[in-house]
C-alpha cells in the first residue's frame, strides 16, 4: 500500500497526510475526537466491494460508531432508501464552506466539529475541499476513509485494493460495535 497521491500529478502539498497504517489507528483517532462527522459523497453507490456498495459499509459504520453522516450531492435519497437517515445533506462545497467557519455550530447546533472524515467523492474534488480545510480550518482535523491516499488530509489511508478497503471499513465498524 503506497502513500503517493492516487492521481499522479497531485503532488503539490508541503504538509502531507499522516498515513493510517491500520484501521485500528483510525478508530482510535475517531474515539479521541469529541465532535466527529463523516461526509459521504456521490460515489457511495458507485463503489462496490465484496458484492456490497460503499454506502452499505458506511451505514454499518455510522450505526456502530454513532458518527453522524452528512450526504453530499443527491445521495441522501440512497441513504433513506436503506432506512438510514443522515444527520443532514448539502452540497460538498457548502459543507466545506461551513467547516472553515469557526462560528458554525454544526448540524445540530451543539458546537464546531473537531474531526471531519471524507469518503466517496471524485478524488480531485475531495482533495481540493480537504486542501481548503487544511489552510483555513486550523482547529479541524481531517481524515479520509477512501482507499486512495489524500495528501492534503491530516490522516489518510494509503492506496489500497477494494478487498483491503472493505476489510478496513469492516474492522472499523467491528471495533465500535457493542462498545457504545
Amino acid at each position: 500500500m503506497s502513500c503517493e497521491p492516487w492521481q499522479c500529478a497531485e503532488v503539490s502539498s508541503t504538509k502531507k497526510a499522516n498515513p493510517i497504517p491500520k484501521p485500528e489507528v483510525a478508530v482510535a483517532l475517531i474515539k479521541k475526537a469529541t465532535r466527529p462527522i463523516l461526509v459521504a459523497g456521490s460515489y457511495a453507490t458507485d463503489r462496490w466491494m465484496e458484492g456490497r456498495q460503499l454506502i452499505d459499509f458506511l451505514i454499518d459504520f455510522a450505526r456502530a460508531s454513532k458518527v453522524p453522516i452528512i450526504a453530499t450531492a443527491h445521495i441522501v435519497g440512497e441513504f433513506l432508501k436503506r432506512g438510514y437517515e443522515p444527520a443532514g445533506f448539502m452540497s460538498a462545497m457548502d459543507i466545506g464552506n461551513r467547516l472553515v467557519d469557526p462560528d458554525w455550530q454544526g448540524l445540530d447546533g451543539k458546537g464546531p466539529y473537531d474531526l471531519a472524515m471524507f469518503v466517496g467523492m471524485p478524488y480531485y474534488m475531495e482533495g481540493l475541499i480537504i486542501c481548503g480545510l487544511k489552510h483555513f480550518a486550523p482547529n479541524l482535523k481531517t481524515m479520509t476513509l477512501d482507499n486512495l491516499y489524500h495528501a492534503h488530509a491530516s490522516w489518510s489511508f494509503p492506496n489500497a485494493t477494494l478487498e483491503e478497503w472493505a476489510k478496513s471499513l469492516t474492522v472499523m465498524t467491528s471495533k465500535f460495535e457493542g462498545v457504545q
Binding site: 492516487w6 492521481q7 499522479c8 500529478a9 503539490s12 502539498s13 508541503t14 504538509k15 459523497g41 456521490s42 453530499t72 450531492a73 443527491h74 441522501v76 435519497g77 440512497e78 433513506l80 432508501k81 445533506f89 452540497s91 460538498a92 462545497m93 457548502d94 466545506g96 464552506n97 461551513r98 472553515v100 467557519d101 467523492m121 471524485p122 478524488y123 480531485y124 474534488m125 482533495g127 481540493l128 475541499i129 486542501c131 481548503g132 487544511k134 489552510h135 483555513f136 486550523p138
Partner: protein, 744 residues
C-alpha cells in the same frame, strides 16, 4: 449616459464588494506553494505568508484573476485579430448589422460597459482599445508586490470578466455583420454534427480552434474553384460553429475532446490550426498519419517556417511531397488555396490511412499491460483502464468500448503507460461503431437575441412565470460523458425554462436523441422563449446570453443602458432568474466568462472538474442577516432569503445540478405566482433526485400564496416546524440610491 462609462478597475468595486460580502470566497488552493517569482518557492500552508507577504487566500484569488486575465485576453485578442482583418477587407465604415429591424440594441454589453453605441466596424476599434487597456491593467495587478487583499483580487477578476464579455461581443458582432452569419434567427438552420456525417470519400479539411477567418478563406477558395461539393470542410471546437454559420455544407465534428479520435481515425487529409484549445501536440500526431498541417495564427505557430510570402505552388508541392510536415501561413486567403489544393492531392494518396491497431492486435498488445494502474491514476476521469485492458487481454473488448463515451481524449493514459500502449487508440478502435454512427444535428449558431423576443418574454421572466433562463455553456471536460448535458437541457426545456447553449456544450447538447430519434434542436424551438433551446454560437457568442439579460433590463424594464452598469446588474441580480451551467468547463476563457456573469449577478454552476478553479463564491442560507435587500418603495430593509444562494458553485452530479439550477433561479422580485411555479420545480426535482422534500422551503416562502397549490400540506409541515412568518415582497435593490422614498 449613466454614471460609469468605461469603468476603470476600481469604479465598480463597491458593487463587487456588496456581492462578495454575501458570497464569500471559499478557497481550495490545491497547491500550497507560490512559485511566480524568484523569492520563491514559498510555502503558504495554513497561514504562512510568502516572501512578498502574500497569504494563501490572496494567492488563490490572484490565480483566479490570472485565469480571468488569460481568458479575457484570449477572447479580446481573437476579436482584435478578426477586426483587423475585417477592416482591411471591408473598411472602417462597414455598418454593423446583427439582426436587421429586429435588433435596435445591437451591442448591449458594449453599450452598458463603455457607453459606446457602435454603428460601424471602425467604432469597434475604440471599444477594443478600452478593453485591452483594462486587461493590461488587471494583469499588472498580479505582479509580485501589487495587490495584497483577496477581495480586491476578486473584484479585479470580476472587472476583467466584464471586459471579457465586451471583447467577445465585439468579435461576434463583427463576424456576424460581415460574414453573413444567421442574424438573431430563431429558425437558424439545423447543421450536421458528428463524425458519422462526414463524407469520407471526399478530401477532408479539418479546422481546429476558434478563429474562423482561415476557414472562411478555405470555403471561399473552394467555392471560387467550384470544388466545394468535392471536399469536406469540418470543424472541431468553436471554429466548427462559425464554419457552419458561414457555410451550409460545413460540418461540426464535435467538441475539443474529439481532436485525437478524429485524427487517429484517419479522417483528416489536411489540418488547419487557428487559435485556442488546439492540442499542442497535434502536429506530432499528424506526422504519424502523413497529414499536412497548416498553422494559420500568429498565436500558434507550432514551430513551422513562415511561408506566408512564398508562392502557393511551392508550398503545395512541399506539403504534398512531405518535404515539410507543416507550414505557417498568416494570410487566410492563401491558407484557403493551399489547404484545398493539398487536400485534393493528398487524399487519394492517404486513402484515409489510420494507424489504429486491429481488434485482434489490441487483445495481443493488452497482454503486456502490467496492471500498474498508472493509466488510471493519470486519467482525469479515473476511468477503469487497467480492468478494461485486463479484459481485453482475456479476449473481451467490451469494457474498452464502453470507455469511448466517457473518454475526454486527453491521452494522459498513454503518456503514463510504461509499456507505451496506445490506450487512447484502443478506445477509439473499439468505439469505432459509435464514432462512425454519430450523425446528429445542431442548431446553427443564431447569434444575438432579438429585441422583439425580449419584449415577449420580459414580463414572464421578471415576474417568475417563465421559471428561468438556463445557459449551458463551456467546454467538454465532462465527468461522466456528454449525456448529462443533454439530460439537463432536455429536463429544463421540457419544464419550459429558456435554455441557451453555446460552444462545445451546444454541440454536446445536440449529440443525443430522444425516443423518437430527434435531437434537442429538432425537439424544441430555437427561439428565446419558454421551452426554447437556442444555440447562440461559438465561445464569443456567449456575450449574447449576457446581452439578453441586459436587454431585459433595458428593453422590458426601460432602465437606462449606456454606462449604467451597477443599476442594470442590480436589476438582473434581483429580478432575472438566470443561471449559467458550465458542466465541462476547463479553460481560462471559461473562468473569464463566468466572472462576467458573476458581476452581472448571474450565478454559475460548474461540474466537479470546475472545483479546480480553486475558489467558490458561496452564500450561507443559515445566516439570515446575509439576505437583506432594500425595498426601493420604502427604504426598509427586507429579508428575501437566499435568492440566489450562490454565485459560483461546483456540483458533483447531474442530479445535484438539476436541483441547484431550479433553486438558483429564485429571485427576490418573483411574484407570488412566479415563486409558486419556481418552488414547484424545485420541490419536484428535489423529490425525484434526492428522494425527499427540501429542508429550506421556509426560506423561500414569503406569503402563503407562494406555496404551490398541490403541495400545501407538505409545505405546511415545514413552515410550522421552522416557525415561519409572513414577509413583505419588496421592490428589491442592493443600491441605496435606487430607493425612491428614503426611510424617515
Amino acid at each position: 449616459m449613466g454614471p460609469t462609462p468605461m469603468p476603470s478597475m476600481s469604479t465598480l468595486r463597491d458593487w463587487d464588494l456588496k456581492l462578495l460580502e454575501r458570497y464569500k470566497p471559499f478557497y481550495m488552493p490545491d497547491c500550497d506553494l507560490c512559485c511566480l517569482c524568484t523569492f520563491g518557492k514559498c510555502d503558504l500552508t495554513a497561514g504562512k505568508r510568502g516572501a512578498c507577504g502574500l497569504d494563501i487566500g490572496a494567492q488563490s484569488s490572484r490565480i483566479v484573476l490570472l485565469a480571468c486575465c488569460i481568458g479575457a485576453a484570449t477572447h479580446t485578442a481573437h476579436s482584435r485579430h478578426m477586426l483587423h482583418h475585417l477592416i482591411e477587407k471591408y473598411g472602417r465604415r462597414y455598418p454593423l448589422d446583427i439582426g436587421g429591424l429586429n435588433i435596435k440594441v445591437e451591442a448591449p454589453v458594449t453599450r452598458l460597459v463603455t457607453g459606446i453605441r457602435p454603428e460601424t466596424l471602425g467604432d469597434l476599434e475604440d471599444v477594443l482599445s478600452y478593453a485591452e487597456e483594462q486587461i493590461t491593467q488587471a494583469t499588472a495587478v498580479a505582479h509580485t508586490g501589487q495587490e495584497g487583499n483577496n477581495l480586491d483580487f476578486e473584484s479585479k477578476a470580476f472587472h476583467v470578466g466584464m471586459i471579457d464579455h465586451v471583447g467577445m461581443e465585439v468579435g461576434d458582432i463583427a463576424q456576424t455583420s460581415t460574414f453573413g452569419f444567421p442574424k438573431a434567427d430563431p429558425e437558424a438552420p439545423l447543421v450536421s454534427l458528428g463524425i458519422g456525417t462526414v463524407d469520407t470519400s471526399k478530401p477532408v479539411i479539418m479546422c481546429i480552434g476558434h478563429n474562423v477567418v482561415p476557414s472562411v478563406g478555405i470555403i471561399d477558395y473552394a467555392k471560387e474553384s467550384k470544388v466545394d461539393d468535392k471536399i469536406e470542410v469540418v470543424g472541431l471546437c468553436c471554429t466548427a460553429h462559425d464554419i457552419t454559420r458561414y457555410y451550409n455544407r460545413g460540418r461540426i465534428i464535435g467538441p475539443i475532446s474529439w481532436q485525437l479520435r478524429f485524427l487517429r481515425g484517419g479522417f483528416a487529409d489536411v489540418i488547419v490550426l487557428d487559435e485556442q484549445c488546439v492540442r499542442t501536440d497535434i502536429t506530432d500526431e499528424a506526422i504519424r498519419l502523413f497529414v499536412p498541417v497548416i498553422a494559420a495564427s500568429e498565436k500558434n505557430c507550432v514551430g513551422f517556417k513562415n511561408r506566408t510570402n512564398d508562392p502557393s505552388d511551392e508550398i503545395v508541392a512541399d506539403l504534398i511531397n512531405a518535404k515539410v510536415p507543416g507550414v505557417l501561413i498568416l494570410d487566410p486567403e492563401k491558407v484557403g488555396e493551399v489547404a484545398v489544393r493539398v487536400a485534393q492531392k493528398v487524399a487519394p494518396i492517404r486513402r484515409k490511412f489510420n494507424n489504429l491497431p486491429q481488434l485482434e492486435e489490441i487483445k495481443k498488445l493488452a497482454k503486456s499491460c502490467r496492471q500498474c494502474n498508472l493509466c488510471r491514476r493519470s486519467c482525469p476521469q479515473d476511468l477503469k483502464l487497467p480492468q478494461a485492458l485486463k479484459a481485453a487481454a482475456e479476449g473481451s473488448l467490451s469494457e474498452l468500448e464502453e470507455l469511448y463515451e466517457y473518454c475526454i481524449g486527453c491521452k494522459r493514459c498513454e503518456e503514463a503507460c510504461p509499456e507505451k500502449l496506445s490506450i487512447h487508440s484502443f478506445i477509439v478502435k473499439t468505439g469505432w461503431k459509435h464514432m462512425t454512427e454519430e450523425t446528429n444535428l445542431c442548431r446553427c449558431g443564431r447569434g444575438a437575441v432579438q429585441d422583439t423576443e425580449i419584449r415577449n418574454v420580459g414580463s414572464p421572466i421578471v415576474l417568475g412565470e417563465i421559471p428561468g433562463i438556463l445557459a449551458v455553456v463551456g467546454c467538454s471536460n465532462y465527468p461522466k460523458g456528454g449525456k448529462d448535458v443533454y439530460d439537463i437541457c432536455r429536463e429544463f426545456a421540457t419544464r419550459r425554462y429558456i435554455v441557451a447553449t453555446s460552444g462545445c456544450a451546444a454541440m454536446t447538447a445536440g449529440s443525443y436523441k430522444n425516443g423518437e430519434g430527434k435531437t434537442l434542436y429538432e425537439e424544441f424551438p430555437g427561439g428565446f422563449e419558454a421551452g426554447g433551446v437556442l444555440n447562440t454560437g461559438s465561445c464569443v457568442s456567449n456575450a449574447h446570453i449576457a446581452g439578453a439579460a441586459i436587454k431585459v433590463a433595458n428593453i422590458f424594464a426601460k432602465r437606462n443602458l449606456r454606462g449604467n452598469y451597477e443599476e442594470i446588474a442590480d436589476y438582473i441580480y434581483n429580478r432575472l432568474g438566470a443561471v449559467g451551467l458550465a458542466w465541462g468547463a476547463y479553460s481560462q476563457k471559461a473562468a473569464a466568462i463566468a466572472a462576467g456573469f458573476w458581476r452581472l449577478g448571474i450565478p454559475v454552476l460548474v461540474g466537479p472538474h470546475g472545483s479546480k478553479y480553486r475558489r467558490m463564491l458561496l452564500g450561507r442560507e443559515d445566516k439570515p442577516e446575509d439576505w437583506e435587500v432594500y425595498d426601493a418603495r420604502t427604504g426598509n430593509k427586507v429579508n428575501v432569503g437566499p435568492a440566489p444562494e450562490h454565485l459560483f458553485q461546483t456540483v458533483e452530479t447531474k442530479e445535484e445540478a438539476m436541483v441547484a439550477i431550479a433553486k438558483l433561479c429564485i429571485r427576490p422580485n418573483d411574484t407570488w405566482k412566479g415563486r409558486s411555479i419556481k418552488l414547484s420545480h424545485y420541490v419536484d426535482l428535489h423529490k425525484r433526485n434526492y428522494g425527499t422534500m427540501p429542508q429550506d422551503l421556509h426560506l423561500f416562502v414569503r406569503t402563503l400564496a407562494d406555496v404551490p397549490m398541490t403541495l400545501k400540506d407538505e409545505f405546511a409541515k415545514i413552515l410550522e416546524a421552522n416557525d415561519w412568518k409572513e414577509k413583505v415582497i419588496p421592490d428589491p435593490t442592493l443600491l441605496p440610491r435606487m430607493i425612491r422614498k428614503m426611510k424617515e
